[in-house]
């Protein structure tokens, strides 16, 4: 017992091995596609092969004659069963929110848009019958380039709106014109943040069983947001909310791509209702790559007004952000979620922010790991390195000159956000020491001096982010439909175990382990005695799910408060049992004691059983040890860190290899260092992948040519290095756990660190930008362009028009000027 108590008291902060892993390493898993039911039918979706076309005829009769086919429907056939898919964010008063039918009824607006559905007795039969559906398309010009899409006379994705402009948003903090008038240097550049395919390893899947409960529907979905799915499916399918139960069973990664309400979820619910039988749809990988949201895809123009000695005064940001063919749940919000992060850790006196959302005929975009913050961090951290080079100063020095010093916290930024805590100096000093920054600079000089064909580059990224989405009031002010609270229930079972019910919805993060640690410490029970109940709307009636690095900051805090509430309640009964005054009861490590009489004790398990029996409960309390807490954060949390990347670039082949990747993150207090480190690794890997490997490429007809894992380069083990990680710990002052959130940090920080390193390796050759993904071809072309005196980012591929931004904008995005 002593050993258990000691361990329980120190659970938080320990690298405990995950509870989740036992089933995951033995295959005793339940992925959505593994769910089955008696009489299960399989759904296949016929998808548009054209980016933009009017659909003039859909005839499903041929499919109905195929073996095993039970039903087949066009969009028109399902028009009474399915409403429009939801968008939960209004970015501006002028936002255009076009209808988004789960199966199209008039036009197709991206390759992959659903045109018809087939229901059959087997997966193969359903897929086979798709070829028997006849569709007539009247082709329309694809809309691919955001700048071209906004010109007069451009073909319109949604004709009813008369424009491809979805919204425009402008926000001023301080007086940018005044900053500019004081500046000695105005640095301008255009950066391209390419389109990405999130590529969670589990393709999306949904099963709906109309027979699992009485007169109700059970929906299993590979989703991050079961509570959202329940509310919105109710609206889309006109089925009362209380008749829908949503379960997110084991979910194989999300990274934002499963933070959505998808056509197939609504289709399956509607078909289960119509047919009275359970149905399943599972995406193939190539289908998933077309029909699951994409990420990023912005043209980012930045302007920094600075003094010649390197004091940054003002920042102006102009964004074009690609919506794709429709708005998904948060499509218009993503670029805006990063708007306060452009000034980052720097003491700007003004920030002028401008953003336009543009419809194109591509897969809709939405949240991808970091959602707006990686976009902001990429621009500001790339610009810092470029500005440092322009001013002839060291990139670390320029940052030091401008960042918020550790003794200036809490600090209110130019955007009005109050950063509660941080220590950029400490994290940076540690990272520089780990990397051996000065020695590498010496080696870099030597390689430059000797004309080594393999050049060394060092990239810096000193990021911050805003986590813990979010204060409900803030969300309301910025145009979101819902709140940002989280609710937890903590209860003791009759036999003295603890159960936690919490509304965040894990899909790989290890919440069950982390939350068990918090609960074990708060209640003084063994880690093994805590069960965490998640991912099922019937078991977890209240929740706002998982995204925005909110689960620990908001959900974990709710758990901590609920557990504290349970102890307060238990003290009343413990006092009664010990014949003492409740004010004299102390609680520590699972035991209630009477002050001054150390022998008078009751364990929490004894109190739990007495509370369950309820034979003798004082009037001051009620039976059953259970407490709830609803946590609505008052503010955000602000993790930060310093990431340094050293690359070797072969100037003859353009090949980049990462020699060292060092990062020191400050995510506040840490509950489980093993899990935190794992989150950093995965995030860093995804950010590196954006920098070097991944890009959703469309051809000039609007076909996604990187539409399989053959063409879209998700890095494999040999493509990545091992990472050197460390932490500083500056606890958050705004929650009792001192935590800040870690899920997105790595992805936010790493992309600019890597690109800065690549550019740093080549800057002496005249290269000042390399377009992501920095493939060997682009790096090589950037070097050749520089040699021949042409500015360039290597983005002008051989076949012009095959990149995401074709034609004129390709040319105009090359280079970018310095004035």
């Amino acid at each position: 017992m002593t050993a258990t108590e000691e361990r329980a008291a120190t659970s938080v902060g320990q690298p405990l091995r995950r509870k989740e892993d036992d089933r995951l390493v033995t295959g005793r898993t339940r992925w959505t596609d593994s769910v089955t039911a008696p009489g299960l039918l399989h759904v296949a979706v016929l998808r548009s092969p054209m980016a933009h076309a009017r659909v003039t005829r859909v005839d499903v009769s041929g499919a109905l004659t195929r073996p095993g086919v039970v039903a087949a429907y066009s969009g028109a056939d399902l028009a009474d069963d399915l409403g429009s898919l939801p968008t939960a964010w209004i970015a501006s008063e002028d936002q255009k929110t076009p209808p988004h039918p789960p199966v199209t009824t008039d036009k197709v607006r991206y390759v992959g848009d659903a045109v018809a559905v087939v229901v059959a007795s087997s997966r193969y039969a359903a897929a086979d019958a798709l070829e028997a559906v006849e569709v007539d398309y009247e082709p329309l010009p694809a809309v691919l380039d955001m700048e071209a899409a906004l010109t007069d006379g451009a073909p319109l994705v949604h004709e009813d709106h008369g424009t491809n402009l979805c919204f425009s948003y402008d926000e001023e903090h301080g007086d940018y014109a005044a900053s500019k008038s004081k500046a000695d240097v105005v640095f301008r550049r255009r950066y391209i943040n390419q389109r990405l395919v999130p590529s969670a390893m589990e393709p999306r899947s949904v099963v709906v069983d109309p027979t699992a409960g009485a007169d109700s529907y059970t929906v299993w979905s590979a989703t991050q947001v079961p509570h959202f799915v329940r509310v919105f499916l109710s609206l889309v399918c006109s089925i009362p909310e209380h008749k829908i139960r949503v379960i997110a069973p084991d979910v194989g990664g999300g990274f934002g791509s499963k933070l959505d309400i998808y056509a197939e979820e609504a289709i399956c619910l509607a078909l289960a209702k119509k047919l009275g039988r359970p149905v399943k749809w599972t995406a193939s990988r190539s289908e998933d790559m077309q029909a699951t949201i994409h990420g990023r895809d912005l043209i980012q123009d930045v302007e920094i007004a600075a003094t010649s000695d390197g004091r940054m005064l003002g920042l102006r940001v102009d964004l074009l952000t690609d919506m794709g063919g429709y708005l998904q749940l948060l499509t218009p919000a993503i670029a805006l979620l990063g708007r306060y992060m452009y000034p980052a850790i720097y003491k700007f006196e003004s920030h002028s922010f401008h953003c336009k959302g543009v419809f194109t005929t591509k897969t809709p975009t939405d949240a991808y790991r970091g959602a707006g913050r990686p976009e902001a961090t990429f621009v500001i951290e790339r610009a810092l390195d470029d500005l440092a080079a322009h001013l002839g100063t060291d990139p670390i020095e320029l940052r030091r000159k401008n960042w918020i010093a550790h003794d200036e916290f809490p600090y209110t930024t130019v955007c009005g956000l109050e950063y509660d805590s941080g220590n950029y100096e400490a994290a940076t000093a540690r990272a520089l020491e780990m990397l051996g920054y000065d020695e590498l600079r010496v080696e870099q000089r030597r390689r430059r001096d000797t004309g080594d064909p393999v050049q060394l580059g060092i990239g810096v990224s000193t990021y911050t982010e805003m986590c813990g989405l979010a204060p409900s009031r803030w969300l309301g002010e910025v145009g979101y439909i819902a709140g940002g609270w989280e609710r937890a229930t903590v209860r003791m079972t009759p036999l003295g175990k603890a159960e936690v019910v919490v509304g965040t919805s894990p899909h790989g993060q290890g919440h069950v382990t982390t939350f068990s640690q918090i609960t074990a410490d708060a209640l003084g029970v063994p880690f093994e005695d805590v069960e965490v109940i998640v991912n099922d709307t019937a078991a977890v009636p209240w929740g706002l799910d998982t995204y925005g690095s909110r689960s620990l900051v908001v959900g974990g805090t709710a758990i901590r408060h609920a557990a504290d509430g349970l102890i307060e309640k238990a003290k009343l009964l413990a006092a009664h049992m010990l014949e003492a005054d409740p004010g004299d009861i102390e609680f520590e490590a699972g035991t209630f004691r009477v002050k001054g009489s150390p022998a008078s004790t009751k364990t929490i398990q004894e109190v739990a059983f007495a509370s369950f029996q309820a034979h003798s409960v004082p009037d001051s309390t009620t039976p059953i040890l259970s407490a709830d807490h609803l946590m609505d954060p008052q503010t955000f949390s602000f993790p930060h860190g310093t990431h340094l990347c050293a690359v070797e670039v072969d100037t003859e082949t353009g090949m980049t290899s990462i020699r060292r990747y060092v990062c020191v993150d400050d995510v506040g207090s840490v509950v489980n260092p093993l899990i935190v480190e794992g989150q950093v690794h995965g995030g860093v890997a995804q950010g590196i992948a954006q920098a070097l490997f991944e890009e959703a490429v469309y051809d000039d007809e609007g076909n996604l040519v990187t539409g399989t894992l053959v063409d879209y380069l998700v890095p494999a083990p040999p493509d990545l290095p091992s990472f050197e990680t460390d932490r500083t710990e500056t606890p958050s002052t705004t929650n009792p756990l001192g935590v800040k959130g870690v899920g997105e940090a790595g992805a936010i920080a790493s992309t600019p660190a890597v690109v800065n390193a690549v550019v740093d390796a080549l800057r002496h050759l005249g290269v000042d930008d390399v377009r992501m993904a920095c493939t060997p071809e682009r790096v090589w072309r950037a070097i050749q362009d520089a040699k021949e005196g042409r500015g360039g980012d290597g983005g002008d591929r051989a076949a012009e028009g095959t990149v995401a931004y074709s034609g004129d904008s390709t040319a105009s995005t090359a280079g970018g000027g310095q004035a």
């Binding site: 997966r123 390893m201 084991d250 990664g253 794992g678 690794h681």
Partner: protein, 155 residues
């Protein structure tokens, strides 16, 4: 339909299958071995890796009829009374997050260690190049394989 026999995780089976049925679909839908997931349709991701007569194969790239007469071990049959060392090491080293790639990653690692009981980091990374993970950045997967090797690896 074609009649096939095979041993799956020690269980003798005889089934009638369509000639085009993929081994992974046979395992998941006929044999109930849903511990082996499908992650792609181009043989890139390796999530569906199983052992066929002691060699790791991507079961999305084998027809069930090609596996006729073979002995298949999936992630569900890997533990023999107690967990295989590789399973233990993946947990110990936090070599998984969402766990979707894990069955394939573990089966491929078992095969790797059988061929090379003491691999270098580069040999591990090269040996697992046919398996994709989106969560871990491979850092802890490499550590898990190193850990398993240090513990005697193969079993």
């Amino acid at each position: 339909m074609v009649s096939i026999r095979m041993t799956v995780d020690g269980e003798q089976r005889e089934d009638e299958v369509e000639p085009r049925l993929l081994l992974v679909h046979y395992l998941r839908e006929k044999a109930g071995k849903v511990g082996t997931p499908v992650g792609c349709d181009t043989s890139n991701c390796g999530s569906c890796t199983v052992q066929m007569d002691g060699q790791s194969v991507k079961s999305c790239s084998v027809l069930a009829v090609q596996a006729d007469g073979s002995d298949i071990t999936t992630i569900e049959g890997l533990a023999n009374g107690e967990w295989h060392q590789v399973q233990k090491s993946f947990k110990e080293c936090h070599g998984l997050q969402c766990g979707y790639c894990t069955p394939g990653m573990i089966m491929a690692s078992v095969d790797l260690l059988e061929e090379n009981p003491d691999p270098s980091e580069d040999e591990i990374r090269d040996g697992l190049e046919g398996n994709l993970c989106r969560c871990t950045g491979y850092h802890n997967i490499v550590k898990a394989v190193q850990h398993a090797a240090a513990q005697g690896g193969a079993r």
